[in-house]
């Protein structure tokens, strides 16, 4: 059987995406607006890559948004699980 091609298709999209300085600002805004739900649901081990595909794809290509993701994740781990080192 053929592999699940979704990750490959996403990778192709990501390779073709413009460089950081050319990424549309609306993408970053939408991504960062959605981060709280994305991070919380990821902690609940929901399939966030399927639930929020736009956010998941954008996070891989945008260092600015990924930085926000990392910081919010670290803050949430410390707040909810008392384990800062995990994030």
């Amino acid at each position: 059987m053929r592999p699940d091609t979704a990750p490959l298709m996403r990778l192709a999209t990501q390779l073709r995406a413009p460089s950081l300085d050319l990424l549309p600002a609306e993408q970053c805004q939408r991504c960062q607006e959605n981060l709280t739900v994305f991070v919380g649901d990821e902690m609940a081990r929901l399939a966030v890559d399927d639930l929020y595909p736009e956010t998941a794809v954008h996070l891989d290509i945008c260092p600015t948004c990924f930085h926000e993701y990392e910081n919010l994740t670290a803050l949430a781990w410390a707040a909810f699980y008392g384990r800062e080192d995990e994030a």
Binding site: M1, P3, D4, T5, A6, P7, L8, M9, L11, A12, Q14, L15, A17, A25, E26, Q29, R30, Q32, E33, N34, L35, T36, V37, V39, G40, E42, M43, A44, R45, L46, A47, V48, D49, D50, L51, Y52, E54, T55, L59, D60, I61, P63, F66, E68, Y69, E70, N71, L72, T73, A74, L75, A76, A78, A79, F80, Y81, G82, E84, E86, A87
Partner: protein
């Protein structure tokens, strides 16, 4: 304590009670919350750290919804209590934010004010994420204060992380899963389905081996791109948290995006072959 034990209601109640006390959360009785969580998780086979994590996540998400509801109902007996709890909880988070000591009181007060203003206008769409919103608002307020303090402004651009922005109706709606069982498609079956011995797959693997920076990145790339597992599934296999896998995946994608154009074209051609026409060739 619950290592090697099946989840049971007594253990669940004990963990819920401990957690609520540690967070100073009193808007719900521990046994009431524990029962709801047990019903949710009862069928799952959970033990050890996995069980603790699952229960703790259920607690804070459910409590966030309870807190959100109470914070939206002025005039009720729980309203004042809810805002007091949120105040105290935000103060405890300040140790995790790099702000100046003299700003701490202002940061908490400003965050609470922005949350109150927002909730007075409309409730948030995902109450389970209310405490995450509060954390993000706290962080943004601290960042804003730091900017003001150092007088370093970035051209007055709109802050994409402001509470106001969070509430705009532009966030990504979750994609509805067709059936609850879809997510439980077993890992074993997926792995079985995607083991491919095609030449293209071998060439993709060789490409990753050539260009990725570590064995760890190579492993994640194989599991994700070639085996089709998402970060959550890879985390389960490797006994990691999903965000840890996502961080490695981010570095992989950054590495691949940073390759010279001819190499990227070669990769795109391989992807097009492997995807069987679902991806346009370069």
């Amino acid at each position: 304590m619950i290592e090697k034990e099946r989840l049971n209601l007594a253990v669940c109640t004990h963990l819920v009670g401990q957690y609520l006390v540690a967070q100073s959360w009193q808007l719900v009785a521990p046994d009431e919350l524990a029962e709801a969580i047990f019903v949710e998780l009862g069928e799952a086979v959970l033990a050890g750290e996995t069980a603790v994590h699952a229960i703790q996540t259920q607690i804070w998400q459910r409590y966030a919804a309870i807190l959100h509801q109470a914070c939206c109902q002025p005039g009720t007996t729980t309203y004042e209590r809810a805002w007091q709890e949120l105040d105290g909880w935000l103060r405890r988070q300040r140790r995790n934010l790099p702000w100046h000591d003299e700003d701490r009181e202002d940061v908490v007060q400003e965050t609470l004010a922005s949350l109150q203003t927002q909730l007075a206008k409309n409730a948030i769409k995902a109450p389970r994420a209310f405490l995450m919103y509060a954390l993000q608002a706290l962080r943004n307020t601290a960042k804003d204060m730091e900017r003001r303090r150092t007088a370093v402004f970035r051209g007055g651009a709109h802050d994409p992380l402001s509470w106001e922005a969070i509430q705009e109706d532009t966030s990504e709606e979750p994609v509805v899963q067709s059936e609850p069982g879809d997510e439980s498609e077993t890992l074993e079956r997926r792995v079985e389905n995607i083991v491919s011995d095609s030449d293209t797959r071998a060439r993709l693997k060789a490409f990753f081996t050539q260009h990725l920076n570590s064995d760890q990145q190579l492993l994640i790339a194989e599991l994700h791109f070639l085996d089709g597992l998402d970060p959550k599934e890879i985390a389960g296999l490797l006994h990691k948290q999903p965000h840890e896998i996502r961080m490695i995946k981010f570095r992989i994608v950054q590495t691949l995006r940073g390759l010279p154009a001819p190499e990227q074209q070669r990769l795109l051609a391989l992807l097009a072959q492997e995807a069987g026409g679902k991806i346009d060739a370069p």
